[in-house]
């Protein structure tokens, strides 16, 4: 599903250049649930942003679902994101003046799905994350866990090939974190490919594979026995 070869990325910080990713080789099969771990500054979020085409790599190859991702302009990147990817952010990134349902329906708007169908689908996905009754509420009226579940519903609504989650539990307490992980595991059970960036060990062990990043390179890549989040909920 994802093929990465020799990926480099550096940021300019004034006159200094900060080399964040120093040659990443990495691949993900369909249906995998991968945790990307590392301390802060290890480059894990940068990697995820490049995977999500939110940021561009300096050099290296990236193939997503058989499509080489290179020389992207914004329009093309937007098309790919819409077609291939769903995002879950640490800070939820819901549009604050739109209701839960409208937030979930937004990626469908960019897929040019009709209004009625959009609403039906949005309600369906909200139902899946258990928030159907909250459909008309604004993000400000929801708890952190609820917001993240809305964000997950929004990411799933576009029916992406890969779900990218950047610290999805970073802003949540542990009980809510497990609820969110439980949801992610269930989505993975349905065959969706998911990448989760986290720096929490327990969250990482709820995935099926852990990739450790340190100083811009992969230092460890191992399959683990998945811990089900269900039991902690």
């Amino acid at each position: 599903m994802i093929e990465i070869k020799n990926l480099h990325k550096s940021y300019k910080m004034g006159s200094n250049s900060l080399h964040v990713l120093k040659g990443i080789d990495f691949s993900v099969e369909e249906g995998e649930l991968v945790a990307i771990m590392g301390s802060s500054g290890s480059g894990k979020s940068t990697l995820l942003n490049i995977l999500g085409m939110l940021d561009a790599a300096d050099s290296g190859e990236y193939v997503l679902d058989g499509v080489p991702i290179k020389d992207l302009n914004e329009t093309k990147a937007a098309q790919y994101r819409n077609k291939f990817l769903g995002f879950v952010f640490q800070s939820f990134n819901l549009i604050n003046y739109k209701s839960a349902m409208e937030n979930v329906a937004l990626p469908l708007y960019y897929q040019r799905v009709g209004r009625k169908e959009r609403q039906d689908k949005a309600l369906k996905y909200l139902d899946q994350v258990g928030l159907k009754e909250w459909a008309t509420h604004l993000p400000s009226e929801l708890s952190g866990g609820q917001k993240q579940r809305v964000a997950i519903a929004r990411a799933m609504a576009a029916e992406p090939k890969v779900l990218l989650a950047d610290e999805p539990t970073g802003a949540l307490d542990s009980k809510t974190s497990y609820e969110v992980m439980d949801l992610i595991q269930k989505i993975n059970d349905d065959g969706n490919t998911i990448l989760v960036v986290t720096h929490e060990e327990d969250i990482a062990h709820m995935c099926k594979r852990i990739v450790h990043l340190k100083d811009g390179v992969i230092v460890e890549d191992k399959k683990v026995k998945q811990v089900r989040a269900q039991q902690y909920v």
Partner: protein, 415 residues
């Protein structure tokens, strides 16, 4: 533009950002409102001044004399030039086909007038029947002087409403009453009023020959007044009256032996030249109002631009989210511009309709000196609205375009 989905998205956004929408709208609507009211009053002032000017015959040419300032043909400077009946008769005969109204004038100031025990000091103007038209006087009672009064040198006078009130206040209709001027009795044949107001009502008219006889004027005159028949256009009228004035001056200088380059002995005034000045004045006023109006519009444009900048800034994160969800840059720019244009258009036309309605309803009620029926050219107002919409769109475009270009990850980080 006709994308129904986009419209729905915009209405959603507007419904949920009422304050933002309202503020954008008010800056647009107030700009239009101020411009329309301003230009309306500019037009109103122009109308008012035009009306003010219509009060006297606007193409009147007058002659008065002073002393010579130049030696000529052995005659010393400082000689007083006196107009005489023959001068008037000559001009009248020579230009009879061109003249519309004409009158000689023999004037005596501060003459004591008595009626019974009442008395007052007024000026006596000996003139011809045409003077009514020249002065734009209207009759309240009776009639003005007529041809046979002149022929018979009749001892008749036309008094003003003011004199009627001051001297003959007890008599409703003073026609046929006699007043005493310089020890002689004169019959009142008419009472006039002047649209120019009270200051124009200090005069008593009588036939010019009568005045000359009573006040030992012999054949002396103070002024000559003429109006020419109007030509097709203002420019032609002006050219003709300027030519006539020059001919008149040349003739008078010749018969009174005045140096051709002596500008002080024989003086003329030509109200048409004043009219020209008045045209220039209203031009100036119009220019001023346009200038202020355009400044207002520029202020409006700056206001709209500011609001647009703030809106885009405020929505940077939202733009990032939309882009992460698959919005193309063009669709982001489109969304913001579409909303901006829609809001400016609705409020722009709202302000236009409101202000024009105000002018239409209250304009005719305005009764202030120099402001008459303020109104505005609809096309001008409409153009302004479109200009503002265009400016708003342009002002929104650049920040929106820039925001759409920045990487979603940067936009998402924006707090």
């Amino acid at each position: 533009m006709f994308d129904i989905e986009r419209w729905q998205e915009i209405f959603d956004t507007i419904r949920k950002n009422k304050l933002r929408t309202f503020l954008t709208g008010v800056s647009v609507a107030s700009g239009i409102f101020i411009l329309v009211i301003l230009l309306g009053f500019g037009q109103g002032m122009q109308n008012g001044i035009a009306q003010e000017f219509e009060r006297d015959a606007s193409n009147m040419i007058g002659v008065w004399t002073q002393v010579t300032t130049k030696e000529y043909k052995g005659l010393n400077p400082g000689r007083r030039i006196q107009l005489r009946n023959e001068n008037y008769d000559f001009v009248e005969k020579l230009h009879i086909d061109k003249l519309e109204y004409k009158s000689p004038m023999y004037r005596v100031f501060d003459t004591s007038i008595m009626y019974g025990t009442e008395s007052g000091a007024y000026s006596i103007w000996g003139s011809s029947p045409d003077f009514q038209q020249l002065e734009n006087a209207y009759m309240s009672y009776g009639r003005f002087l007529n041809f046979s009064d002149i022929q018979q040198k009749a001892k008749v006078v036309v008094i003003s409403n003011k004199i009627h009130r001051e001297l003959l206040g007890s008599i409703e209709d003073p026609i046929g009453e006699h007043i005493e001027i310089a020890g002689l009795s004169f019959q009142i044949i008419g009472v006039y009023g002047d649209v120019g107001g009270e200051r124009e009502e200090e005069k008593i008219y009588m036939p010019v020959a009568t005045a000359q006889g009573v006040f030992n004027g012999a054949d002396r005159l103070n002024n000559l007044f003429f109006t020419l028949k109007p030509a097709e256009t203002f420019e032609e009228s002006l050219a003709e009256s300027t030519k006539f004035t020059e001919e008149l001056k040349t003739y008078l200088k010749q018969v009174h032996t005045v140096a051709p380059d002596d500008e002080s002995a024989i003086n003329t005034f030509n109200t048409l030249e004043n009219v020209q000045r008045f045209y220039n004045l209203t031009g100036g006023i119009r220019f001023f109002f346009w200038f202020v109006g355009i400044c207002t519009i520029i202020a409006g444009i700056v206001g709209v631009s500011n609001v647009m900048l703030i809106i885009v800034k405020e929505r940077t994160k939202e733009i990032g989210i939309r882009k992460a969800l698959g919005a193309k840059p063009i669709s982001v720019v489109g969304l913001i511009l579409h909303e901006a244009i829609f809001v400016t258009a609705v409020f722009g036309f709202g302000g236009l309709i409101f202000s024009m309605g105000l002018l239409e309803i209250f304009g005719p009620m305005v009764e202030v000196d120099y402001v008459v029926n303020p109104s505005i050219d609809f096309n001008v107002a409409l153009t302004t609205v479109f200009l503002l919409i265009f400016a708003g769109a342009l002002a929104g475009f650049f920040p929106a375009y820039r925001a759409a270009r920045i990487k979603p990850i940067v936009a998402l980080r924006d707090e």
